[in-house]
Amino acid sequence: MKFTFVIGGPQGMGVDTSAHSFARACAYAGYWVFGKREYHSNITGEHSYFTITVSDKQVHTFQNNIDILATFDERTLRFHIADVKPHGAVIYDEEIDITKYKTEKDNILFVPIPYNKIIKETSEKFGLGDIKKIQVMRNSICIFATASLIELDSGFVEKTMEYIFSGKRKKVLEPNRYAGLVAYEEVKKYRNKFHIKMPKIDLGRERLLISGTQATALGKIAAGCRFQTYYPITPATEESEFLESVADQYDFVVIQGEDEIACIALSIGAALTGARASTSTSGPGFSLMMEAIGWAGMNEVPVVVVNHQRGGPSTGLPTRHEQGDLKFAIYGGHGEFPRIVLAPGDIEEAFYITASAFNLAEKYQCPVIILEDKFISNSVKTVDMFDLSKIKIDRGKTLQPDNKSNFTDTTLKKFKRFELVDDNISPRIFLGHPGLIFWNTGDEHDEFGHISEDPYNRLRMHQKRMRKLEKIIEEVSVEEKISIFGDKDSDVVIVSWGSTKGGILTAYENLKDMGYKFLFIQVKMIHPLDADLISEYLNGRLKIAIEQNYSAQLAGYITEKTGIKFDKFILKWTGRPIAEEELTNAIKNAITGNQKSIILSAGL
């Protein structure tokens, strides 16, 4: 059982909240959900919508074809009706003239809702006054109506309403519940005309309904990060705002800097004191951070930078999805310095990879860049409760201040912060370490951190830093570098990164049923790249790259490192993620057809 629900409306009118309540109600009933948000770079008025795919098994991505379209304005109806499946249902305002839509789509169920009537009745009952001012109630009505149609117990919806209308908003709970229940009753009469039913499932275990930004923030908390900086930017801000909301509990210093240059500098400054420190941003902010990321590379400072990618270049499509910053993350900043680039493929990985990023940063003493993308960052999903036992704290070669050490100020020692050691990782101390001092500089430096222009020192210091990349490839486990899915016997291999993972896994299931198989390599540690490891899987197979950018950036990087070229490309850069059906088809075409590049464009 799997179906897709879409709700839309003017931005700023509660669509987000009602979509979230629907997802939550389904989750309460024991189902798995995946919710994707599409919105404009605008505060009030533009059309935004939410697509929620629900199933009794884990859902990894969304579908374009709609089973239930829930609307309360005509624009949403007009925009989305073409995508409603045969035998699907449309919830609409009875005051809208539906005739033309009905003739267009004669195989779907139209469920009229007397929004104004119910709102009026509710207003009278609770003395709420002018119904024009409480139109936002349409959201609750719409959700209850949907629940009713699919026989989702109204109790689950009520429970989400109680969750949402709490605190300051508590006073509107009862009217919303009342209006909703009226609609719930009203719609019961359509149940027998509709095929989707949602009986309660008992899973018997705790899960989370969570977004990518939230999972990332949790990863930071779990890993002991206690210093976050940010400058507001879509779609990254939510991560920091969530951290602000729990700051007190975790002694978490969250600073809104005056710009992204300040943010990265603040975090590097904090990291020097031993704090696990991070900053989160998106494309434009990431561009501004490059000079200082290079400084961190030069001074071997562990700092974690999360780039929640959005459509580029420049301001681009600020609220839309893209995977356009990969090469920039790998090569950004003048000169050469070691860094690690990680890419979680889903919301769970956003948590686990973020947490482990701090270990990598401290073990290899370099900046770590986490590339998320808007489709992960802003989507919500039901996931199993995060397992803290999978995370260990490893602070690398960091010398903790030894309070018992017996020094006096006259025994003050210069610490060789950049000692040339065999494994290229110099022991590290923090600012304030008793009895020791060191220097840092963005200039090439000697072992103490003093400026040195000596060519031989340069030869070794640059080498020391850059060789860490080889060490990282050697030491990081295969599981942290890549994930392998699908059929190892297949002569087709798909390589991808980031949020396409969910779609590829889902398409795999679909295609298996249709008789097609493939091996799927999800690259998680993209830089430094374990070229040998990946080559192994590429050689002798039809190689398909799937990416949400124009130039197939990961594929290009793999070719650079292995010399192996890809045969087929499935690409999309409309700012919209790839839906299950679109991807299933595209992969089938890539396997069977002879088009080299398949360019996708579905989705509003």
């Binding site: 779990a222 210093f227 002694d251 210093v253 590097i268 704090a275 039901t382």
Partner: protein, 299 residues
């Protein structure tokens, strides 16, 4: 910090301990020497242990200062010492933090940070070496060089007006704003001490002759114009301070402005009950329980 330990340290603190063994490569006669001396003397007289002190500098001749001093010395990026310094201070409020810039660094490329830091009142001292030129890049006009002035490297007389750092800092919210003269080590040292002791953000604009490139603002010219603020100058009035800063006849030195206001650290301790005790630098070696944070997501 443990007071007992403190006393012990104080006793052992020696003045010359603060000069590192790195050879100074400033030009002979450069005002930077006086500033360096003032800083090390101030630290010595306040008996601040080197390892509890972190100096953050930008890029320029001025930016080299930390290498010459025996404390943690972080030579950052052009225009960025302030945010690096603030990050360190907020993550470990036990550190004594000093930021150092040239005038190009602080008032040109870095002035966005300078202005925005004023809104935070972090407890640190910002010393700006104001020589009217970009020294290390060979003498181009800096933001403090006057219109029509033409030091030796300029192809034509300066086309820009100069900014007034004192009045900008006061407008931006600095709670300690002072000016001194690089060759007057005693005066400068005292001001640095006052600023370090001051609970809040201090800006010290130091008039610093650059004999090599700033051939118009020479030691002599400075001595003609400089006047020390009278001892009874009221340091609590932004308007009076700005009036003195705008004076074109004299170059006043001394403390223009000094008020008490809650520091950024204090503001965070309103939000975070354990701050500054459990500051971000106190990382635990085990994972943190996330159950409170996931509360709202649990299904």
């Amino acid at each position: 910090m443990d007071t007992k330990e403190d006393t012990k340290e104080k006793k052992d603190t020696k003045k010359d301990m603060y000069r590192s063994d790195v050879e100074i490569d400033w030009c002979p006669g450069c005002g930077d020497f006086g500033i360096l001396q003032s800083i090390t003397q101030a630290l010595a007289e306040l008996e601040i242990p080197p390892y509890k002190t972190a100096l953050f500098s930008g890029i320029g001749c001025s930016g080299k200062t930390p290498h010459f001093i025996n404390t943690y010395g972080i030579h950052t990026l052009h225009g960025r010492p302030l945010p690096f310094a603030i990050g360190a201070k907020m993550a470990n409020p036990e550190l004594v933090v000093i930021a150092i810039s040239g005038d190009g660094d602080a008032y040109g490329i870095g002035v966005g940070h300078l202005v925005n830091a004023g809104r935070r009142n972090v407890n640190l001292t910002y010393i700006v070496y104001n020589n009217g030129v970009y020294g290390l890049t060979k003498g181009q006009a800096s933001p403090t060089l006057r219109r029509r002035a033409q030091p030796k490297s300029l192809k034509y007389p300066n086309i820009n007006d100069n900014i007034n750092p004192i009045s900008i800092a006061i407008s931006a919210g600095y709670t300690f704003v002072a000016r001194s003269f690089a060759y007057n080590v005693k005066h400068l040292k005292e001001i640095i001490k006052q600023s370090i002791i001051h609970r809040g953000l201090g800006l010290i604009d130091v008039l610093q002759p650059c004999p090599v490139f700033n051939t118009v603002d020479t030691r002599e010219k400075y001595l003609e114009k400089i006047k020390i603020l009278p001892p009874d100058f009221p340091t609590d009035s932004p308007l009076k301070a700005i009036e003195k800063a705008l004076d074109t006849e004299h170059l006043w030195i001394g403390v223009f402005f000094k008020i008490e206001k809650d520091t950024y650290e204090e503001r965070y301790s309103e939000i975070l009950k354990n701050y500054p005790r459990l500051s971000p630098s106190k990382v635990q070696d085990s994972t943190s329980d996330i159950s409170f944070a996931v509360k709202n997501f649990v299904i």
